[in-house]
């Protein structure tokens, strides 16, 4: 369940990264298909990141002397990460619900209070979640995995830009 939860969050985060990377580059009025494609691109690249993380976990399990202990530690770390990331994601989803109300003022407020500030704090929150997770099971394997995941989370938008170029 923990792994599925983290995968869902990673996929959602990656698709939003795709949206952000595409935003401000196309000045047409109707951009629904453009943004849909951008979000799919982001989600697909997110899956690549997930596969890389899975391969790293597999490698760590192969080289560790006690795979079961590592699995438990990873579960502990993962559940703690969910404690940080799930409320953040819920706030975003709630803001989308509010934004569905067809009011200029209400929609603007969701940007002012949620979407804008949350975009800025996302990298900080990504780091906090990983650090909080690692602190539940501090060992070299979890630190290595956290560093790799953090690098991928924080460079996803940049990577999408590189593919665009």
């Amino acid at each position: 369940m923990i792994a599925i939860g983290l995968w869902l969050l990673a996929t959602m985060d990656a698709s939003f990264a795709g949206y952000r990377e595409a935003a401000g580059r196309n000045a047409l009025i109707d951009k629904r298909r453009y943004y849909l494609r951008a979000m799919i691109r982001g989600a697909v690249l997110g899956q690549v990141a997930v596969v890389i993380a899975a391969l790293v976990i597999l490698s760590l399990l192969l080289i560790t002397g006690n795979p079961q202990s590592l699995i438990w530690d990873l579960e502990k770390a993962g559940s703690r990460m969910l404690v940080v990331y799930v409320p953040f994601a819920m706030m975003i989803l709630l803001a989308f619900c509010v934004r569905s109300i067809p009011s200029v003022d209400i929609r603007s407020i969701t940007s002012t209070l949620i979407f804008g500030p949350f975009t800025l704090i996302r990298p900080v929150l990504a780091v906090i979640g990983l650090v909080y997770g690692v602190l539940a099971a501090p060992r070299i394997a979890t630190v290595v995995l956290a560093l790799i995941v953090m690098t991928m989370m924080l460079s996803l938008e940049k990577a999408l830009s590189l593919f665009r170029a």
Partner: protein
């Protein structure tokens, strides 16, 4: 006529201005890297060294650094093609923020009661709406694409900058939009506007220039105007900084966007300028407070209308009339 300087907001704001490197005064970079003869609209060369020197003398080192990185020719003039490409990119990024803040819909919500008021008062059509300094024409294209104003409305965007107008035309053509874009002084178009509108241009006109801008609205056939700009408040520069940090990529866009909020006029200053420059119109500020509460908004609008159409306009505002100040 000048907005209160940021340092009147107190020491806390001063510290934040410094921490966030928010510029304290104008001009904006985009005001200086393009020069146009206002009579012939011919492009004038811009000496890079002079612009950099001006920003250095104003102690705006961020702006000086941004200009220093812009390409220039052998004669020291900024490369006009590179500047054009940069400005088109910046306008594309600005459109993203306009979209996020629902600016097209916001304009329609205020423009429709004005136009309906004119129709109710039997003003002869077509009702011509001209967007002053339209850039790449987001508002005009949005209103056209969403058929937001009715079939008797002719939408025209005017801007001094040919590259921006070319881009506006290209985008309109790509979506089969029937709006028109002209490289022109909006006040010198062959046929005058029934309604003049703009977004984010008022703060570029300082002091007497603002009164002169409003004076140009006094034309036969012009019944109303509405100009959107940043709403000046103690929080505006920080809110603007946050959004430009989160949303913009180009350093010029980040710099000028934040400075725009710093330079935005107080409602009272706008009203004074409008009533001085365009005394034939009654005017008010729309949307300074949110839901009647003292919550600052990102944008507000200065609305002016000929007195004979005032009542019809207000009647068509419906429940939004609470957001309108006293029209006098």
């Amino acid at each position: 006529m000048q907005s209160p300087p940021p340092n009147s907001f107190g020491w806390c704001n001063r510290v934040l201005f410094r921490l966030l490197s928010i510029p304290k005064e104008g001009p904006e970079i985009s005001d200086r890297i393009v020069a146009v003869d206002t009579n012939t609209l011919a492009r004038q060369p811009v000496r890079k060294r002079e612009v950099v020197g001006e920003f250095r003398s104003l102690n705006n080192l961020a702006a000086a650094t941004i200009v220093e990185k812009l390409p220039a020719g052998n004669d020291g003039s900024l490369d006009p093609d590179a500047i054009d490409r940069l400005l088109v990119t910046v306008h594309c990024e600005m459109q993203r923020i306009s979209e996020e803040f629902q600016h097209g819909r916001r304009v329609a919500e205020l423009l429709n009661p004005i136009l309906q008021g004119l129709r109710d008062s039997k003003v002869d059509g077509p009702l011509r709406v001209v967007d002053i300094g339209c850039g790449t024409g987001f508002v005009v294209r949005w209103l056209t694409a969403h058929e937001a104003l009715g079939g008797d409305v002719e939408l025209i965007g005017a801007d001094y900058h040919p590259a921006l107008i070319d881009e506006a035309r290209r985008l309109a053509e790509a979506e089969n939009l029937s709006c028109r874009f002209e490289v022109a002084n909006a006040f010198r178009l062959e046929q005058p506007a029934t309604v003049y509108m703009s977004t984010g241009i008022l703060h570029h006109f300082r002091g007497r220039e603002l009164i002169d801008l409003f004076a140009q609205h006094n034309r036969p056939g012009t019944c109303a105007f509405m100009h959107f700009d940043f709403h000046q408040s103690a929080l505006a520069p920080f809110g603007s900084w946050l959004f430009h940090a989160a949303r913009m990529r180009e350093p010029l866009a980040k710099h000028d966007g934040v400075l725009s909020a710093v330079r935005a006029y107080e409602s009272e200053d706008l009203l004074l300028a409008a009533r001085t420059g365009a005394p034939n119109f009654v005017s008010a500020v729309y949307g300074t407070k949110l839901w009647g509460l003292p919550i600052p908004r990102a944008f507000h609008s200065l609305v002016g209308i000929l007195p004979e159409y005032r009542d019809a306009f207000i009647a068509n505002l419906g429940n939004k009339k609470d957001a309108l100040g006293v029209v006098e």
